[in-house]
Symmetry: C2
Subunit: 189 residues, 2 copies
Amino acid sequence: MTQEKTDPRILRTRKLIMDSFIELSGKKEFKDITIKDITTEAMVNRATFYYHFKDKYDLLEKVLSEVLLINLNSDKVEQYELNEEVIVSIFLAITNFQNSLSNRCHRGYEDTIARIIREQLEIIFYKMFLKRRSIDENQVLKRIAVMLNWGIYGASVEWRRNSEVPPEEFIKSLIPFIMYGNDFEPINQ
Amino acid sequence: MTQEKTDPRILRTRKLIMDSFIELSGKKEFKDITIKDITTEAMVNRATFYYHFKDKYDLLEKVLSEVLLINLNSDKVEQYELNEEVIVSIFLAITNFQNSLSNRCHRGYEDTIARIIREQLEIIFYKMFLKRRSIDENQVLKRIAVMLNWGIYGASVEWRRNSEVPPEEFIKSLIPFIMYGNDFEPINQ
DNA sequence: TCTAAGGTGTTGTATATACGATAAATCTAA
DNA sequence: TTAGATTTATCGTATATACAACACCTTAGA
Protein backbone atom coordinates (compact mmCIF):
# COMPACT_ATOMS: atom_id res chain seq x y z
CA MET A 1 0.00 0.00 0.00
CA THR A 2 1.85 3.18 1.11
CA GLN A 3 5.34 1.84 0.63
CA GLU A 4 7.58 4.80 1.62
CA LYS A 5 10.72 2.86 0.80
CA THR A 6 13.06 2.75 3.74
CA ASP A 7 16.77 3.35 3.53
CA PRO A 8 18.51 0.10 2.57
CA ARG A 9 21.07 0.69 5.28
CA ILE A 10 18.29 0.41 7.83
CA LEU A 11 17.00 -2.84 6.41
CA ARG A 12 20.48 -4.26 6.23
CA THR A 13 21.42 -3.29 9.78
CA ARG A 14 18.16 -4.54 11.27
CA LYS A 15 18.61 -7.84 9.55
CA LEU A 16 22.18 -8.11 10.80
CA ILE A 17 21.07 -7.46 14.36
CA MET A 18 18.06 -9.74 14.26
CA ASP A 19 19.96 -12.59 12.65
CA SER A 20 22.73 -12.24 15.19
CA PHE A 21 20.23 -12.34 18.00
CA ILE A 22 18.62 -15.50 16.64
CA GLU A 23 22.06 -17.02 16.24
CA LEU A 24 23.05 -16.16 19.80
CA SER A 25 19.73 -17.37 21.19
CA GLY A 26 20.72 -20.82 20.08
CA LYS A 27 23.84 -20.70 22.24
CA LYS A 28 22.89 -18.73 25.35
CA GLU A 29 19.96 -18.00 27.58
CA PHE A 30 18.14 -14.80 26.75
CA LYS A 31 19.14 -13.21 30.05
CA ASP A 32 22.82 -13.92 29.41
CA ILE A 33 22.89 -12.19 26.05
CA THR A 34 24.20 -8.63 26.27
CA ILE A 35 23.72 -5.85 23.78
CA LYS A 36 27.44 -5.96 23.22
CA ASP A 37 27.25 -9.64 22.32
CA ILE A 38 24.58 -8.92 19.75
CA THR A 39 26.29 -5.96 18.15
CA THR A 40 29.66 -7.67 18.04
CA GLU A 41 28.16 -10.66 16.29
CA ALA A 42 26.36 -8.29 13.91
CA MET A 43 29.51 -6.25 13.23
CA VAL A 44 27.63 -3.12 14.19
CA ASN A 45 28.34 -0.40 16.73
CA ARG A 46 26.56 -0.68 20.07
CA ALA A 47 25.04 2.77 19.74
CA THR A 48 23.52 1.74 16.44
CA PHE A 49 21.50 -0.88 18.26
CA TYR A 50 19.69 1.83 20.18
CA TYR A 51 18.95 3.65 16.95
CA HIS A 52 16.73 0.74 15.97
CA PHE A 53 15.53 -0.87 19.18
CA LYS A 54 14.50 0.47 22.56
CA ASP A 55 16.15 -2.38 24.43
CA LYS A 56 16.64 -6.13 24.42
CA TYR A 57 12.96 -6.85 25.00
CA ASP A 58 11.96 -4.64 22.11
CA LEU A 59 14.32 -6.64 19.92
CA LEU A 60 12.80 -9.87 21.18
CA GLU A 61 9.31 -8.69 20.29
CA LYS A 62 10.28 -7.65 16.81
CA VAL A 63 12.21 -10.80 16.10
CA LEU A 64 9.33 -12.96 17.25
CA SER A 65 6.80 -11.01 15.22
CA GLU A 66 8.94 -11.27 12.16
CA VAL A 67 9.67 -14.96 12.50
CA LEU A 68 6.03 -15.68 13.10
CA LEU A 69 4.95 -13.63 10.11
CA ILE A 70 7.40 -15.52 7.95
CA ASN A 71 6.07 -18.79 9.30
CA LEU A 72 2.57 -17.65 8.46
CA ASN A 73 3.62 -16.71 4.97
CA SER A 74 1.82 -13.45 5.44
CA ASP A 75 1.67 -12.29 1.83
CA LYS A 76 -0.45 -15.23 0.87
CA VAL A 77 -2.53 -15.20 4.01
CA GLU A 78 -3.64 -11.67 3.31
CA GLN A 79 -5.22 -12.71 0.06
CA TYR A 80 -7.13 -15.57 1.60
CA GLU A 81 -10.47 -15.78 3.22
CA LEU A 82 -10.69 -17.44 6.59
CA ASN A 83 -11.52 -20.93 5.45
CA GLU A 84 -10.62 -24.35 6.77
CA GLU A 85 -7.35 -24.57 4.87
CA VAL A 86 -6.13 -21.25 6.21
CA ILE A 87 -7.02 -22.08 9.79
CA VAL A 88 -5.12 -25.32 9.57
CA SER A 89 -2.04 -23.64 8.12
CA ILE A 90 -2.13 -20.97 10.82
CA PHE A 91 -2.37 -23.56 13.54
CA LEU A 92 0.54 -25.48 12.07
CA ALA A 93 2.55 -22.28 11.87
CA ILE A 94 2.01 -21.64 15.56
CA THR A 95 2.97 -25.11 16.67
CA ASN A 96 6.01 -25.16 14.40
CA PHE A 97 7.00 -21.76 15.68
CA GLN A 98 6.79 -22.81 19.28
CA ASN A 99 8.71 -25.98 18.62
CA SER A 100 11.53 -24.04 17.03
CA LEU A 101 11.53 -21.60 19.93
CA SER A 102 11.64 -24.26 22.59
CA ASN A 103 14.89 -25.42 21.07
CA ARG A 104 16.25 -21.94 21.43
CA CYS A 105 16.23 -21.54 25.17
CA HIS A 106 13.76 -18.70 25.53
CA ARG A 107 12.70 -20.19 28.85
CA GLY A 108 11.19 -17.59 31.12
CA TYR A 109 9.68 -15.53 28.35
CA GLU A 110 6.76 -17.74 27.43
CA ASP A 111 4.29 -15.06 28.45
CA THR A 112 5.88 -12.44 26.27
CA ILE A 113 6.02 -14.84 23.38
CA ALA A 114 2.42 -15.87 23.87
CA ARG A 115 1.29 -12.26 23.86
CA ILE A 116 3.16 -11.52 20.69
CA ILE A 117 1.71 -14.53 18.94
CA ARG A 118 -1.80 -13.51 19.90
CA GLU A 119 -1.26 -9.94 18.79
CA GLN A 120 -0.12 -11.13 15.41
CA LEU A 121 -3.02 -13.51 15.09
CA GLU A 122 -5.46 -10.77 15.95
CA ILE A 123 -4.07 -8.56 13.22
CA ILE A 124 -4.28 -11.35 10.68
CA PHE A 125 -7.81 -12.40 11.59
CA TYR A 126 -9.02 -8.84 11.54
CA LYS A 127 -7.64 -8.26 8.07
CA MET A 128 -9.32 -11.39 6.84
CA PHE A 129 -12.66 -10.43 8.32
CA LEU A 130 -12.46 -7.06 6.62
CA LYS A 131 -12.26 -8.84 3.29
CA ARG A 132 -15.69 -10.34 3.63
CA ARG A 133 -17.52 -8.00 5.94
CA SER A 134 -18.66 -4.44 5.92
CA ILE A 135 -16.48 -1.83 7.57
CA ASP A 136 -19.53 -0.85 9.59
CA GLU A 137 -19.12 -3.94 11.73
CA ASN A 138 -15.69 -2.66 12.74
CA GLN A 139 -16.10 -2.92 16.49
CA VAL A 140 -17.65 -6.34 16.40
CA LEU A 141 -15.06 -7.66 13.97
CA LYS A 142 -12.28 -6.57 16.30
CA ARG A 143 -13.87 -8.35 19.22
CA ILE A 144 -14.34 -11.52 17.22
CA ALA A 145 -10.71 -11.34 16.12
CA VAL A 146 -9.65 -11.09 19.74
CA MET A 147 -11.78 -14.00 20.78
CA LEU A 148 -10.56 -16.10 17.91
CA ASN A 149 -6.88 -15.42 18.54
CA TRP A 150 -7.21 -16.38 22.19
CA GLY A 151 -9.12 -19.45 21.17
CA ILE A 152 -6.63 -20.60 18.58
CA TYR A 153 -3.72 -19.89 20.82
CA GLY A 154 -5.38 -21.76 23.67
CA ALA A 155 -5.89 -24.68 21.35
CA SER A 156 -2.18 -24.73 20.63
CA VAL A 157 -1.45 -24.72 24.37
CA GLU A 158 -3.81 -27.60 24.85
CA TRP A 159 -2.23 -29.49 21.96
CA ARG A 160 1.24 -29.06 23.42
CA ARG A 161 0.08 -30.22 26.82
CA ASN A 162 -1.38 -33.40 25.46
CA SER A 163 -0.11 -34.02 21.97
CA GLU A 164 -1.13 -37.57 21.24
CA VAL A 165 -2.59 -36.48 17.95
CA PRO A 166 -0.85 -34.74 15.06
CA PRO A 167 -1.62 -31.02 15.01
CA GLU A 168 -3.51 -31.26 11.71
CA GLU A 169 -5.96 -33.72 13.18
CA PHE A 170 -6.21 -31.72 16.39
CA ILE A 171 -7.19 -28.49 14.71
CA LYS A 172 -9.44 -30.14 12.16
CA SER A 173 -11.54 -31.54 14.95
CA LEU A 174 -12.19 -27.98 16.07
CA ILE A 175 -12.96 -26.45 12.73
CA PRO A 176 -16.69 -27.05 12.75
CA PHE A 177 -16.99 -25.00 15.91
CA ILE A 178 -14.79 -22.26 14.57
CA MET A 179 -16.66 -22.04 11.30
CA TYR A 180 -20.22 -22.56 12.41
CA GLY A 181 -20.24 -21.90 16.12
CA ASN A 182 -21.96 -24.07 18.66
CA ASP A 183 -24.66 -24.99 16.26
CA PHE A 184 -22.52 -27.17 14.06
CA GLU A 185 -23.09 -30.46 12.36
CA PRO A 186 -20.57 -33.13 13.35
CA ILE A 187 -18.17 -33.87 10.53
CA ASN A 188 -17.49 -37.37 9.38
CA GLN A 189 -13.94 -38.53 8.64
CA MET B 1 52.67 -3.52 12.56
CA THR B 2 51.11 -0.02 12.10
CA GLN B 3 47.51 -1.08 12.47
CA GLU B 4 45.61 2.22 12.01
CA LYS B 5 42.26 0.52 12.56
CA THR B 6 39.95 1.11 9.62
CA ASP B 7 36.30 1.97 9.97
CA PRO B 8 34.27 -1.24 10.37
CA ARG B 9 31.80 0.05 7.82
CA ILE B 10 34.57 -0.03 5.25
CA LEU B 11 35.55 -3.57 6.09
CA ARG B 12 31.95 -4.69 6.04
CA THR B 13 31.12 -3.05 2.73
CA ARG B 14 34.27 -4.29 1.01
CA LYS B 15 33.50 -7.79 2.16
CA LEU B 16 29.94 -7.53 0.89
CA ILE B 17 31.12 -6.36 -2.52
CA MET B 18 33.91 -8.89 -2.83
CA ASP B 19 31.76 -11.80 -1.73
CA SER B 20 29.05 -10.77 -4.16
CA PHE B 21 31.57 -10.59 -6.96
CA ILE B 22 32.85 -14.06 -6.17
CA GLU B 23 29.29 -15.32 -6.01
CA LEU B 24 28.42 -13.77 -9.37
CA SER B 25 31.61 -15.03 -10.95
CA GLY B 26 30.29 -18.52 -10.46
CA LYS B 27 27.24 -17.76 -12.56
CA LYS B 28 28.42 -15.36 -15.27
CA GLU B 29 31.44 -14.55 -17.34
CA PHE B 30 33.53 -11.71 -15.98
CA LYS B 31 32.73 -9.52 -18.96
CA ASP B 32 28.98 -9.99 -18.43
CA ILE B 33 29.03 -8.84 -14.82
CA THR B 34 28.01 -5.20 -14.45
CA ILE B 35 28.71 -2.95 -11.51
CA LYS B 36 24.98 -2.83 -10.96
CA ASP B 37 24.87 -6.62 -10.70
CA ILE B 38 27.55 -6.57 -8.05
CA THR B 39 26.09 -3.79 -5.95
CA THR B 40 22.59 -5.19 -6.14
CA GLU B 41 23.80 -8.56 -4.91
CA ALA B 42 25.78 -6.81 -2.18
CA MET B 43 22.79 -4.67 -1.12
CA VAL B 44 24.95 -1.59 -1.54
CA ASN B 45 24.50 1.56 -3.58
CA ARG B 46 26.26 1.69 -6.90
CA ALA B 47 28.07 4.89 -6.04
CA THR B 48 29.50 3.21 -2.98
CA PHE B 49 31.29 0.78 -5.23
CA TYR B 50 33.34 3.62 -6.68
CA TYR B 51 34.22 4.79 -3.21
CA HIS B 52 36.18 1.57 -2.75
CA PHE B 53 37.25 0.43 -6.18
CA LYS B 54 38.44 2.22 -9.28
CA ASP B 55 36.55 -0.12 -11.58
CA LYS B 56 35.76 -3.76 -12.20
CA TYR B 57 39.36 -4.68 -12.92
CA ASP B 58 40.53 -3.09 -9.71
CA LEU B 59 37.98 -5.20 -7.88
CA LEU B 60 39.20 -8.31 -9.68
CA GLU B 61 42.77 -7.63 -8.63
CA LYS B 62 41.87 -7.11 -5.02
CA VAL B 63 39.63 -10.14 -4.84
CA LEU B 64 42.28 -12.35 -6.35
CA SER B 65 44.97 -11.02 -4.04
CA GLU B 66 42.79 -11.57 -1.05
CA VAL B 67 41.65 -15.06 -1.98
CA LEU B 68 45.21 -16.06 -2.70
CA LEU B 69 46.44 -14.67 0.58
CA ILE B 70 43.76 -16.60 2.42
CA ASN B 71 44.76 -19.73 0.54
CA LEU B 72 48.33 -19.11 1.54
CA ASN B 73 47.30 -18.65 5.14
CA SER B 74 49.46 -15.55 5.16
CA ASP B 75 49.67 -15.00 8.92
CA LYS B 76 51.42 -18.26 9.43
CA VAL B 77 53.54 -17.99 6.33
CA GLU B 78 55.04 -14.74 7.55
CA GLN B 79 56.46 -16.44 10.59
CA TYR B 80 58.04 -19.23 8.62
CA GLU B 81 61.36 -19.57 6.99
CA LEU B 82 61.47 -20.68 3.42
CA ASN B 83 61.91 -24.39 4.00
CA GLU B 84 60.64 -27.43 2.17
CA GLU B 85 57.34 -27.57 4.01
CA VAL B 86 56.51 -23.97 3.21
CA ILE B 87 57.37 -24.32 -0.45
CA VAL B 88 55.10 -27.32 -0.75
CA SER B 89 52.21 -25.57 0.93
CA ILE B 90 52.64 -22.52 -1.28
CA PHE B 91 52.65 -24.65 -4.38
CA LEU B 92 49.52 -26.45 -3.25
CA ALA B 93 47.87 -23.12 -2.53
CA ILE B 94 48.55 -21.98 -6.07
CA THR B 95 47.25 -25.10 -7.73
CA ASN B 96 44.18 -25.17 -5.50
CA PHE B 97 43.58 -21.53 -6.21
CA GLN B 98 43.75 -22.00 -9.95
CA ASN B 99 41.49 -25.02 -9.81
CA SER B 100 38.87 -23.06 -7.92
CA LEU B 101 39.18 -20.21 -10.39
CA SER B 102 38.83 -22.38 -13.46
CA ASN B 103 35.46 -23.44 -12.14
CA ARG B 104 34.49 -19.81 -11.92
CA CYS B 105 34.67 -18.85 -15.57
CA HIS B 106 37.41 -16.26 -15.44
CA ARG B 107 38.39 -17.24 -18.96
CA GLY B 108 40.18 -14.47 -20.78
CA TYR B 109 41.85 -13.10 -17.69
CA GLU B 110 44.49 -15.73 -17.17
CA ASP B 111 47.25 -13.19 -17.76
CA THR B 112 45.90 -10.81 -15.17
CA ILE B 113 45.44 -13.61 -12.69
CA ALA B 114 48.94 -14.93 -13.37
CA ARG B 115 50.45 -11.51 -12.80
CA ILE B 116 48.62 -11.08 -9.50
CA ILE B 117 49.69 -14.48 -8.25
CA ARG B 118 53.30 -13.72 -9.09
CA GLU B 119 53.13 -10.33 -7.41
CA GLN B 120 51.82 -11.93 -4.25
CA LEU B 121 54.43 -14.63 -4.31
CA GLU B 122 57.15 -12.06 -4.73
CA ILE B 123 55.98 -10.19 -1.68
CA ILE B 124 55.85 -13.35 0.39
CA PHE B 125 59.25 -14.62 -0.68
CA TYR B 126 60.84 -11.27 -0.09
CA LYS B 127 59.46 -11.10 3.43
CA MET B 128 60.78 -14.54 4.15
CA PHE B 129 64.22 -13.74 2.86
CA LEU B 130 64.37 -10.69 5.06
CA LYS B 131 63.90 -12.94 8.08
CA ARG B 132 67.18 -14.74 7.50
CA ARG B 133 69.31 -12.25 5.60
CA SER B 134 70.78 -8.87 6.19
CA ILE B 135 68.90 -5.84 4.97
CA ASP B 136 72.08 -4.85 3.13
CA GLU B 137 71.41 -7.52 0.55
CA ASN B 138 68.13 -5.77 -0.26
CA GLN B 139 68.58 -5.44 -4.00
CA VAL B 140 69.75 -8.97 -4.45
CA LEU B 141 66.99 -10.40 -2.28
CA LYS B 142 64.38 -8.64 -4.40
CA ARG B 143 65.82 -10.11 -7.56
CA ILE B 144 65.90 -13.58 -6.10
CA ALA B 145 62.30 -13.19 -4.98
CA VAL B 146 61.34 -12.24 -8.52
CA MET B 147 63.15 -15.17 -10.01
CA LEU B 148 61.66 -17.54 -7.51
CA ASN B 149 58.09 -16.38 -8.01
CA TRP B 150 58.39 -16.77 -11.78
CA GLY B 151 59.93 -20.16 -11.27
CA ILE B 152 57.28 -21.44 -8.91
CA TYR B 153 54.51 -20.05 -11.02
CA GLY B 154 56.04 -21.61 -14.10
CA ALA B 155 56.16 -24.91 -12.29
CA SER B 156 52.45 -24.66 -11.58
CA VAL B 157 51.78 -23.97 -15.26
CA GLU B 158 53.80 -26.98 -16.21
CA TRP B 159 51.99 -29.11 -13.66
CA ARG B 160 48.60 -28.08 -15.01
CA ARG B 161 49.70 -28.79 -18.57
CA ASN B 162 50.74 -32.31 -17.73
CA SER B 163 49.34 -33.35 -14.41
CA GLU B 164 49.98 -37.06 -14.28
CA VAL B 165 51.48 -36.67 -10.84
CA PRO B 166 49.90 -35.22 -7.69
CA PRO B 167 51.09 -31.69 -7.04
CA GLU B 168 52.90 -32.64 -3.83
CA GLU B 169 55.07 -35.08 -5.68
CA PHE B 170 55.60 -32.65 -8.51
CA ILE B 171 56.90 -29.85 -6.34
CA LYS B 172 58.93 -32.13 -4.09
CA SER B 173 60.91 -33.29 -7.07
CA LEU B 174 61.95 -29.69 -7.62
CA ILE B 175 62.83 -28.81 -4.06
CA PRO B 176 66.46 -29.83 -4.19
CA PHE B 177 67.04 -27.36 -6.96
CA ILE B 178 65.14 -24.61 -5.21
CA MET B 179 66.98 -25.11 -1.96
CA TYR B 180 70.47 -25.85 -3.15
CA GLY B 181 70.62 -24.63 -6.72
CA ASN B 182 72.10 -26.56 -9.57
CA ASP B 183 74.65 -28.21 -7.34
CA PHE B 184 72.19 -30.42 -5.51
CA GLU B 185 72.38 -33.99 -4.34
CA PRO B 186 69.57 -36.18 -5.71
CA ILE B 187 67.08 -37.07 -3.00
CA ASN B 188 65.93 -40.58 -2.40
CA GLN B 189 62.21 -41.40 -1.92
C1' DT C 1 30.98 -0.80 53.90
C1' DC C 2 33.59 0.51 49.88
C1' DT C 3 35.51 -0.32 45.45
C1' DA C 4 36.24 -2.10 40.91
C1' DA C 5 34.27 -4.08 36.94
C1' DG C 6 30.88 -4.53 33.66
C1' DG C 7 26.35 -3.60 31.56
C1' DT C 8 22.82 0.01 30.04
C1' DG C 9 21.11 3.84 27.66
C1' DT C 10 22.17 8.58 25.76
C1' DT C 11 24.55 12.35 23.37
C1' DG C 12 27.60 15.13 20.00
C1' DT C 13 30.40 14.78 16.18
C1' DA C 14 32.97 12.68 12.29
C1' DT C 15 32.55 9.74 8.50
C1' DA C 16 30.62 6.20 5.24
C1' DT C 17 26.81 5.27 2.55
C1' DA C 18 22.35 6.29 -0.18
C1' DC C 19 20.39 8.72 -3.77
C1' DG C 20 19.41 11.47 -7.65
C1' DA C 21 21.45 13.95 -11.30
C1' DT C 22 24.72 14.22 -14.84
C1' DA C 23 27.89 13.57 -18.93
C1' DA C 24 30.51 10.47 -21.38
C1' DA C 25 31.30 5.92 -23.22
C1' DT C 26 29.67 1.66 -25.26
C1' DC C 27 26.50 -1.14 -27.42
C1' DT C 28 22.30 -2.37 -30.66
C1' DA C 29 19.21 -2.03 -34.04
C1' DA C 30 17.25 0.26 -37.88
C1' DT D 1 25.59 5.99 -40.64
C1' DT D 2 22.07 7.63 -36.88
C1' DA D 3 19.24 7.18 -32.79
C1' DG D 4 17.97 4.94 -28.55
C1' DA D 5 19.30 2.35 -24.77
C1' DT D 6 22.72 0.69 -21.32
C1' DT D 7 26.50 1.15 -18.67
C1' DT D 8 30.17 3.79 -16.61
C1' DA D 9 32.07 7.14 -13.63
C1' DT D 10 31.53 11.42 -10.84
C1' DC D 11 29.29 14.93 -8.03
C1' DG D 12 26.52 17.31 -4.04
C1' DT D 13 23.61 16.57 -0.41
C1' DA D 14 20.93 13.97 3.08
C1' DT D 15 21.11 10.40 6.34
C1' DA D 16 22.72 6.16 8.91
C1' DT D 17 26.43 4.49 11.37
C1' DA D 18 30.91 4.65 14.19
C1' DC D 19 33.01 6.30 18.13
C1' DA D 20 34.19 8.23 22.42
C1' DA D 21 32.43 10.03 26.43
C1' DC D 22 29.07 10.17 29.99
C1' DA D 23 25.94 9.09 34.08
C1' DC D 24 23.60 5.51 36.05
C1' DC D 25 22.86 0.87 37.70
C1' DT D 26 24.04 -3.79 39.15
C1' DT D 27 27.11 -7.27 40.92
C1' DA D 28 31.17 -9.38 43.14
C1' DG D 29 34.72 -9.34 46.24
C1' DA D 30 37.90 -7.18 49.81
